[in-house]
């Protein structure tokens, strides 16, 4: 019994630095954000700080800017995650099947993963720029992409796809290698064509990995900040919720209102997570019935 207790103590001791860091730097500030969101608190007028209840939430939720940024963020999230998934699946298949150059493909895919997001966003911004860029010349267009809303969205989503597809592709590749070759051979013998083998054997077996990859990328995409900041700064109606939060908190120093935005973003992320895990759960129970 004492040895067990000693082991328990050691375990907690070893986990202490990690636990303390997570409590001090995420849990406490999050609670502090909830607290701040109940006050009128503007750092430019710190003396006028007073309790206002849910007033900040009312003003955020009744502002069109919030709903527009929420729509923008969801639009960017869905747009990038869907294309990333499809493209990532193709890339994973290429890496899985390519006999020559597999190493080279994997190596070059790690380049977008390793590159700083700000740098990637800059590179694409310059590429689409009408004066310095090559994209217009290539396509025979004369478009100022980042000065119009929908083309700006296109550039932003395109950048996100380029930067994060490698992560998706590598995860999916790991999922592909879990599928036993024997099973695919057996299916081939049974007369299944390539498409049938892929949709009836490979994809169902990859389901758990696909779910994890989608969950991670969706939550990550919802937090989008760097690319939008570098490419449009939220102009032309492309603000994401993180940009709205940043502007309220850091640019305007309005900690009360900004914290309300922060809390709402946290609630959104939580909702997305719960929705995914619920989907996950029903998925699992359905599989168990089989």
């Amino acid at each position: 019994m004492t040895r067990r207790a000693a082991e328990q103590r050691l375990a907690w001791l070893l986990c202490a630095p990690a636990v303390i860091a997570m409590l001090v730097v995420t849990a406490y500030p999050m609670l502090y954000a909830v607290w701040l969101s109940l006050f009128r608190y503007d750092l430019r007028f710190p003396n006028q700080r007073r309790f206002v209840g849910v007033e900040n939430y009312v003003s955020v939720l009744s502002a069109e800017a919030w709903w527009q940024s929420l729509f923008n963020t969801l639009f960017i999230t869905v747009g990038s995650v869907v294309f990333e998934f499809l493209l990532g699946l193709v890339f994973a298949l290429v890496m899985h099947r390519a006999i020559i150059g597999r190493q080279l493909v994997r190596a070059s895919l790690l380049v977008p993963y390793g590159i700083i997001t700000v740098v990637a966003a800059m590179s694409w911004r310059f590429a689409f720029d009408p004066t310095t860029g090559f994209v217009n010349a290539l396509l025979g267009l004369e478009s100022a992409w980042l000065t119009q809303r929908w083309t700006a969205f296109f550039v932003i989503i395109q950048t996100e796809i380029w930067k994060t597809t490698p992560f998706m592709a590598l995860l999916l590749l790991a999922g592909l290698s879990v599928v036993p070759e024997d099973l695919l051979r057996a299916a081939r013998v049974d007369g299944a064509n390539a498409a049938q083998r892929f949709f009836k054997v490979t994809l169902p077996l990859m389901r758990p990995v696909i779910m994890v990859a989608l969950l991670f990328r969706t939550l990550d995409a919802f937090r989008i900040f760097d690319t939008v900041f570098v490419q449009t700064r939220g102009a032309q109606g492309t603000e994401s919720v993180s940009i709205v939060g940043y502007n309220a908190l850091v640019t305007r120093l309005n900690l009360g209102l900004g914290s309300a935005v922060s809390v709402l973003i946290f609630v959104c992320v939580l909702t997305i997570g719960v929705l995914y895990i619920k989907g996950f759960g029903s998925d699992w129970s359905r599989r168990r019935e089989h």
């Binding site: 997570m22 590159i115 700083i116 310059f126 010349a137 994890v212 940043y246």
Partner: protein
């Protein structure tokens, strides 16, 4: 020539072309920013992908800019220390999770999961306020603390996955021979775990090197401003000149080392990235 017409070669060609397309797609923006950094200022508007005349003047400008060298030093220092801290704390926690019987195991993994999904913008405001009061605003420590926390989940998962594959019996043998769990950790597990630790360190380093939101929210001067923030706020030699070339040159300077590291350790990075998702 007989039998399966085209099956083998066609398939090979198909995947070969596919591979080539993937490589080109992945490398275009990198080639583009390198090309921009080498173009003469007068050629910037020529709408060509490759430079007509190569010049290194923009690199000279970047390296003679005190703001950039300060940012580079800040980035290296802050990312280095954050990595060390996150990997150390992650190592201890992962060891406890994999090797010891204790009640908090699930709790800690769940907490790590929550932190991994946490939106950083949600705590930027409170941290800004707290750091001002504590005197951590615009200091290295003010960035190291959030960085090590937000990379802890990555470190804990990667390390747990690697630790699980370590032969347990060696550790048990050491403990039978009278080593305390701590000694068993230092002398038996740690050397075996070194490759995993290294992998986790690379992933954590890339994450912190990349961060932008904390870097622009919690700093204001060259004291602690890191490379991504410096690049985003780069002003050219004169107010009327677009700093495109300088930004490109600075981008190349901070991208090349990462690309080299990533290419050298590609096997490990891929293993580290995917370990959590496939096994967990």
């Amino acid at each position: 020539m007989t039998g399966r017409p085209g099956n083998g070669t066609m398939e090979r060609l198909f995947w070969g072309v596919g591979s080539a397309l993937v490589v080109i797609y992945a490398l275009i923006p990198v080639a583009w920013i390198v090309s921009l950094s080498l173009k003469r200022s007068g050629d910037l508007g020529d709408n060509r992908f490759f430079p007509q005349n190569v010049t290194l003047e923009h690199y000279q400008v970047v390296f003679s800019d005190p703001q950039f060298s300060a940012a580079l030093w800040n980035s290296v220092g802050i990312a280095g220390i954050s990595t060390l801290a996150a990997v150390l704390a992650g190592m201890f926690a992962a060891y406890a999770i994999v090797r010891l019987e204790f009640s908090g195991r699930r709790l800690i993994l769940a907490a790590a999961l929550c932190v991994a999904m946490f939106p950083p913008v949600s705590i930027v405001g409170p941290l800004f306020d707290m750091w001002r009061i504590l005197g951590l605003y615009d200091t290295w420590a003010g960035l190291i603390l959030p960085y090590m926390t937000f990379t802890l989940p990555l470190a804990v998962w990667t390390l747990s996955a690697f630790f699980r594959d370590i032969p347990w019996d060696l550790d048990k043998a050491a403990r039978v021979d009278g080593a305390t769990p701590f000694k068993a950790f230092v002398y038996v597990i740690a050397p075996l775990a070194a490759p995993g630790v290294f992998t986790a360190a690379i992933l954590v380093f890339i994450f912190t090197w990349n961060d932008f939101l904390f870097a622009i929210s919690l700093t204001s001067t060259n004291n602690a401003r890191t490379v991504p923030a410096a690049i985003a706020f780069f002003t050219g030699g004169s107010r009327f000149e677009q700093p495109t070339s300088s930004i490109a040159a600075a981008s190349v300077v901070v991208t090349v080392p990462i690309i080299i590291v990533v290419l050298i350790f590609q096997r490990r990075i891929v293993a580290g990235l995917t370990s959590g998702a496939v096994k967990g």
